[in-house]
Symmetry: C2
Subunit: 251 residues, 2 copies
Amino acid sequence: MTYCIAASINEGLILVSDSRTNAGIDNVSTHGKMHAFNTTSDRKIVLLCAGNLATTQAVLEQLHRDKLKNTPINFNTVDCLSAAAAYLGHVSVEKQKQHINAEGQSAFNPSASFILAGQIGDEPHGAFMVYAEGNSITTSANTPFLQIGESKYGKPILDRFLRLGNSIDEAARCCLVSMDSTIRSNASVGPPVELLIYRKDSFSLDEYYSFEGDDDYMLQLRRCWENKLREAIAALPDLDKESAKSMQIDL
Amino acid sequence: MTYCIAASINEGLILVSDSRTNAGIDNVSTHGKMHAFNTTSDRKIVLLCAGNLATTQAVLEQLHRDKLKNTPINFNTVDCLSAAAAYLGHVSVEKQKQHINAEGQSAFNPSASFILAGQIGDEPHGAFMVYAEGNSITTSANTPFLQIGESKYGKPILDRFLRLGNSIDEAARCCLVSMDSTIRSNASVGPPVELLIYRKDSFSLDEYYSFEGDDDYMLQLRRCWENKLREAIAALPDLDKESAKSMQIDL
């Protein structure tokens, strides 16, 4: 399984991914799912990957080869993020098709999904989620984040906290809590956790972190979070016992 | 969809359920999923229901009729909660079978799952989750809660907070937050929210609450929770910028 988050807020982008892959519960290994591309200096493009590892690896390689060969469409030639997402979707569908027979069937599920995030030229920074079918969606003011993989455990904290106007450092901590909750609740999502903070217009990927399972900062974050949750629950309003009702008994 | 929680802690039981049912996203209605039985005075038995509404209604009716007819096995004759769960599992499988043909197929999915909770005689209070297949599991010291239906959104807060030694009032607030998170993240889970607090050895179902969507207490709980989360994120440790690394670029 996989869990990746991209938040696109006023101050920039936050990308977070786990590193656990598995083929069955008894075949677990570690592969980073956050990939940056060596593009021309007017752009930064980063991918997060979920789904079939053979597909995501084949897609990444094709994207790199297209760039090296300077094919007409590649990450150096696209002029906006939505064009980059459309190109990625096209490559992904092509790679999946190689494992689907004429009847539209496959011996395994080759599907993969991606988040593409970054900034190109004078365009604003942004993030797109590319579905296995090749189409894509982006963030909005109401929902300034995207998730791929095991998204449910970590969604409530994003729903409740993440807003366009958050400070980028707070939004990054919120995304790390979302990842930590998912790791705690699903054994098939695991460290190292990668975090990239991209400040808008910086064209720099220097704020990159990789946290192992026993990383001091992550342990401190988890401990502090759990203490704060306990305090929060203690501070919630008491039930008004007067408003208790009789329960309907039997049909 | 449905979301129900049962927590079984030292001080007693907390049961929470939503009331939304749907046949397709455009056919939504309201049915309570928490049902108490009028049993002999030495016991209290309460069910939470998820899955096919026709199945859960047929099961509830059968359980009531068995009790009225005083069949050899019914909720008045079982001598422990695990026997009650086994009996419920048997009735559930029988009701589902009525819609499965000789080839083991059905025109629809008749499956349903249940949580059975309560206390019988001198036995300790407890809770059992009864799978669609009729077998069941109970809680443990490590995981003192059970969930049925849309369980993922609301699981992290239970994983992080719920312990055997919690006060029952705090545990109840924690379960309400878990429900509120699920309602916020999944439109097919909705109010009224039912809450039952059962204090061990009380054999009383008097602490029962039903909260509509615009209930003052639930709105206050949500507002207070979201404020506390914002404070918690603000209080989390800052990232150590010194520990940022260079990101690997390209393959």
